[in-house]
């Protein structure tokens, strides 16, 4: 009885698989993923998710966001650049793409991508506490000139875009950027905490990132580093240029696909994104969030990226900037402290004979075989899941492991199918996790 059920299920699975294995239809015929190099909840993530919703309505397939975070954007951008150029993996590119390769952190540049649409540029701005003595940039410059070593600033991590923006202004007014004391932080929000707590004097970040504190009257904006004022959201904030400084810098956000993506796929995605970016809903979203809305087609976007890349490259490679990257307490200070502590604790433990193995009974050879099979399951899963697909890999490996642990063939097959299918439904369909489709097309 049971084996027959198992065979039936297997046949059913196979049928399902073959029916999914139809010829490649018109693009797109399956879910598209947007790789967001920044964490859930941040501005870039919110943009990605808004675009995903609208693109889904436009293209008629699911569009999901993956947060591939970390490494100051290295992870997401390099994963996006190395994705299969089939249009199903887009990357939400940010200005860090123009910075990371100059700092030698990755070989991925804007040339690794084809920009599809650039929809936002946010300029850097300078903020001080509401009770700070400086009302204008001139007054701040005066303070910097008289006591250059006292100003403390924050806004992003060391060497991040807002750090560059402020350091660039230092260079523009003839000060050595190395004299700027920059407190590395995880982003604009924690920097605002530092500013309010009085640990730093100045925060450099974009206007929308500080909008809440500005509206509450806690901080004051001294100027924005854009060619024109940011209307309609922040009409009262003067630009650097108005105050006599020829200095502008900012970030951008754009969607891109890997370089070798075929023309016919671009012909679908570019107009679709143009429609999405121009919807009233998206424009309202951008306005509400305080992001500067714009639309640049692939050609204009490329020009913007080339320009930003050159400007940031000059800044990062300049002597002035090289000096600020040599902080006095370098990258190995902390690991060295940890190594010392580790050695100390280990020595104390050994001296007190505190390191003893648990006295459980010795495992048998068969036990070790099971142990190895467990590890084999994970290793084989990593190796096989991409080429073979999730359902097949998961089902077969699970069935094999059940069987190796003493479950009969038939029951192992049924159980494996009963576990893998709901897992697939929950993770892939409900939670929209990108599970590989593999050989059979599912």
């Amino acid at each position: 009885m049971l084996p027959r059920t198992a065979l039936g299920l297997l046949a059913g699975l196979l049928f399902l698989g073959l029916s999914g294995c139809r010829a490649e239809g018109e693009f797109p015929d399956r879910p598209i993923f947007i790789l967001c190099p920044w964490g859930a909840g941040g501005g870039t993530d919110r943009c990605s998710r808004q675009i995903a919703v609208l693109l889904e309505q436009d293209l008629g397939v699911n569009v999901n966001v993956i947060n591939a975070t970390g490494g100051q954007g290295v992870t997401g951008h390099s994963r996006g650049a190395r994705a299969r150029p089939d249009g199903y993996t887009m990357t939400m590119m940010t200005v860090e793409l123009n910075m990371l390769h100059w700092r030698g952190l990755t070989d991925v540049t804007h040339e690794s991508f084809v920009p599809l649409a650039l929809f936002n540029r946010d300029a850097a701005a300078l903020f001080v506490r509401a009770d700070a003595p400086w009302q204008t940039l001139q007054e701040l410059e005066g303070h910097i000139k008289t006591s250059p070593d006292t100003l403390k600033a924050s806004g992003t991590s060391q060497g991040g875009i807002w750090h560059l923006a402020l350091a660039g202004w230092y260079a523009a007014i003839g000060e050595d950027p190395a004299r700027l004391s920059w407190l590395s932080s995880q982003g604009a929000a924690p920097s605002m905490t530092e500013l309010l707590a009085g640990t730093v004097d100045v925060v450099a970040c974009s206007l929308p990132e500080a909008a809440v504190q500005m509206a509450a009257g806690k901080v004051r904006c001294l100027g924005v580093m854009s060619p024109e004022r940011v209307t309609p959201r922040f009409p009262d904030v003067p630009t650097f240029e108005e105050q006599g400084y020829d200095w502008s810098l900012g970030g951008w956000r754009a969607l891109g696909v890997p370089r070798d993506t075929p023309e016919e796929i671009l012909d679908v995605l570019v107009p679709a994104l143009k429609r999405v970016v121009h919807t009233a809903e998206f424009r309202e979203f951008m306005a509400r969030q305080g992001f500067d809305w714009r639309y640049e087609d692939p050609k204009t976007a490329r020009a913007t990226l080339v320009h930003a890349d050159r400007a940031l490259g000059e800044l990062i490679r300049s002597d002035a900037f090289a000096s600020i990257r040599r902080a006095r307490f370098g990258a190995m200070v902390y690991p060295s402290v940890l190594a010392l502590a580790f050695g100390g604790v280990l020595a104390a433990l050994v001296a007190k004979r505190g390191l003893k193995r648990t006295g459980s009974d010795r495992p048998t050879v068969k036990g070790w075989v099971h142990f190895a099979e467990g590890i084999g399951f994970v290793v084989l899963f990593i190796l096989l899941v991409r080429p073979v697909g999730f359902l097949l890999t998961g089902g077969v490996l699970l069935g094999l492991l059940f069987w190796r642990l003493g479950v009969s063939h038939a029951r192992a097959t049924v159980l494996a199918a009963l576990v893998v299918l709901p897992v697939y439904v929950v993770f892939h369909i409900l939670l929209r996790v990108d599970l590989p489709r593999g050989l059979l097309g599912w």
Binding site: A197, R328, V345, K352, H370
Partner: protein
């Protein structure tokens, strides 16, 4: 206030709360899926809701997800968040004694209690707490992180030296990748995926979940049904049957008996949890540390912490009421920590509502949602329309926690059945969930590899009896600790005095040093007296 009551008691809102509770419990119960992920998936839906509806969905979802994380934490030894990693081993030890329903019931009741107290704290003190939070700068965070790490060492069972070793190992693992303080790469060996460092979710799943699977596989041929792992149910577990009583009754009487401890823990949770960053994770550890300190005094008369095998009969002999199971130090610690991490959720809303600075990743998403509704979080929100929105948040917190009781109860009933599944079937399934959980965070195959490596590490550490909770906390707090440490040193040109310059940093620093040095000092004092 009345406006808010009307807004919240709307049938639509109540329905959303119930639905979100079910969704939250479901997501939270699957290892590796986080509340943040669930909320992020919800964000596009909230665009079509009004602010109170949207907030109701998010608040309920998160409150329920964090409790549901206790289910795999208890039954499978896979913690859902770093804050629940604080008590993973304790709660799993209870399962091995057959007390899974009692343990989960305690988690549920104390979670709800913690959540309720957190909501009340938020209601009464949000603005004054926020003023306190505004005093925290780089140096204060440095001390706070050290305080959290110190609590992890103090709260771990067994030798504090071994806990310290685990902690330093975790901190060392956190240095892999691009350092946030310098933006330079370390220990990446040219592997691009390592630039972002070791993600704590796959690490946690590996350290706890996978290592447990591996250890059980190792003895599977001798104990095919996990006899060593779970033994026969204790008398009280069996005697009280399977009804509502076994889950709730005991936990409620436990709550009544320990009402002060619950209040204390929830208070710690809300006040530490409000600090942006790793507040909630630290809260659970601090609460557990305090709880353990106090219970050592009442149960074993101070000094060494007893292993559960000795401690349980010891406290049993002292119990007077035979129908009432004896107080159990393990259970008490779990109860306190879980109360703290639930009330910390409410705490995270303090800076969000008052300053518009997100307290955690979920409240960051909430700020985005509110801005879509043209609501600017910040001081104004308390005046807007008589503060309807703010009071609605408070009320929703209360309601969400009440809804959690029945929904959580059903989840416990469903989950507890897992324990009866034979190991040869259960272990492969857990293994698959470990793999899926590690993968789902970032859809990264590399993370599965990280999970595997951490699983082997966890297995080895278990063999040497080094606790894993501190390792996880080390991975989570390592980078922010370094950032604050290096930041302060660089700003002060290397002067250590900078760590004590401001009154608030001086106070925290002294407290922290006292915590770290007190065991050393007492040991020295004893030795000196004996000599």
């Amino acid at each position: 206030m009345t406006g808010a009551v009307h807004a919240v008691l709307d049938p639509g809102v109540l329905m959303i709360i119930v639905l979100a509770a079910v969704y939250g419990v479901f997501i939270g119960a699957i290892p590796g899926l986080t509340a943040t992920m669930a909320v992020a998936l919800l964000v596009p839906v909230t665009f079509h809701l009004d602010p109170v509806h949207a907030i109701a969905a998010v608040v309920t979802l998160v409150a329920c997800a964090i409790f549901a994380g206790d289910i795999p934490n208890t039954l499978l030894r896979i913690p859902g968040t770093p804050s629940s990693a604080a008590y993973t081993d304790d709660v799993h030890a209870l399962v091995k004694r057959g007390l899974q329903e009692r343990a989960l019931g305690t988690c549920l009741v104390f979670s709800v209690a913690g959540g309720l107290v957190g909501a009340v704290v938020l209601m009464l003190f949000a603005q004054s707490l926020a003023r306190l939070a505004a005093l925290f700068g780089t140096v204060e965070y440095f001390w706070l992180y050290l305080l959290g790490l110190g609590s992890a060492v103090a709260a771990s069972r067994g030798s504090p030296l071994r806990a310290a070793l685990g902690l330093i190992l975790g901190l060392a693992l956190s240095t892999v990748g691009l350092s946030t303080a310098h933006g330079s790469e370390r220990f990446t060996f040219g592997i691009a995926e390592l630039y972002r460092g070791i993600n704590f979710i796959p690490a946690m799943i590996g350290l706890f979940g996978l290592s447990e699977v591996l250890r059980n596989l190792l003895v599977l041929d001798r104990h095919p049904d996990g006899a060593t792992a779970r033994g026969s149910p204790d008398q009280d577990g069996g005697k009280l049957g399977k009804g509502l009583g076994s889950v709730f009754g005991l936990a409620l009487s436990e709550l009544w008996r320990r009402k002060r401890a619950a209040l204390r823990s929830a208070g710690i949770g809300a006040s530490v949890g409000m600090l942006p960053g790793a507040g909630a994770d630290i809260a659970a550890w601090v609460s557990l540390g305090v709880s353990r300190r106090l219970s050592r005094d009442t149960h074993a008369g101070g000094g060494k912490c007893l292993s559960p095998e000795i401690a349980a009969p010891l406290s049993a002999s002292r119990g007077t009421d035979p129908s009432q199971p004896p107080p159990d130090p393990l259970l008490e610690g779990v109860a306190d920590a879980t109360a703290a991490n639930n009330s910390a959720l409410a705490g995270a809303w303090v800076p969000t509502l008052v300053f518009g600075i997100p307290g955690d990743s979920v409240t960051a998403l909430v700020i985005g949602i509110l801005m879509m509704k043209d609501v600017m979080p910040g001081p104004d929100i308390f005046e807007r329309e008589g503060g309807v929105l703010v009071y609605s948040v408070y009320l929703i917190f209360l309601l969400a926690n009440l809804v959690l009781l029945p929904v959580g109860f059903l989840a416990i009933k469903a989950g507890a059945a897992l324990v009866r599944v034979p190991h040869r079937i259960l272990l492969p399934i857990i293994l698959l969930f470990c793999v899926m959980g590690a993968y789902a965070v970032n859809s990264s195959y590399f993370d599965i590899g990280v999970m595997l490596a951490m699983g082997l590490l966890g297995f080895v550490l278990d063999q040497w009896r080094i606790p894993l909770g501190p390792v996880v906390l080390g991975i989570v707090l390592g980078a922010p600790l370094e950032e604050r440490f290096i930041g302060t040193l660089n700003a002060s040109e290397g002067s250590l005095l900078a760590f004590f310059e401001r009154p608030q940093s001086l106070a925290l620093g002294v407290l922290c040093l006292a915590l770290w040095l007190s065991p050393v000092a007492t040991a020295g004092w004893r030795r000196w007296r004996r000599a």
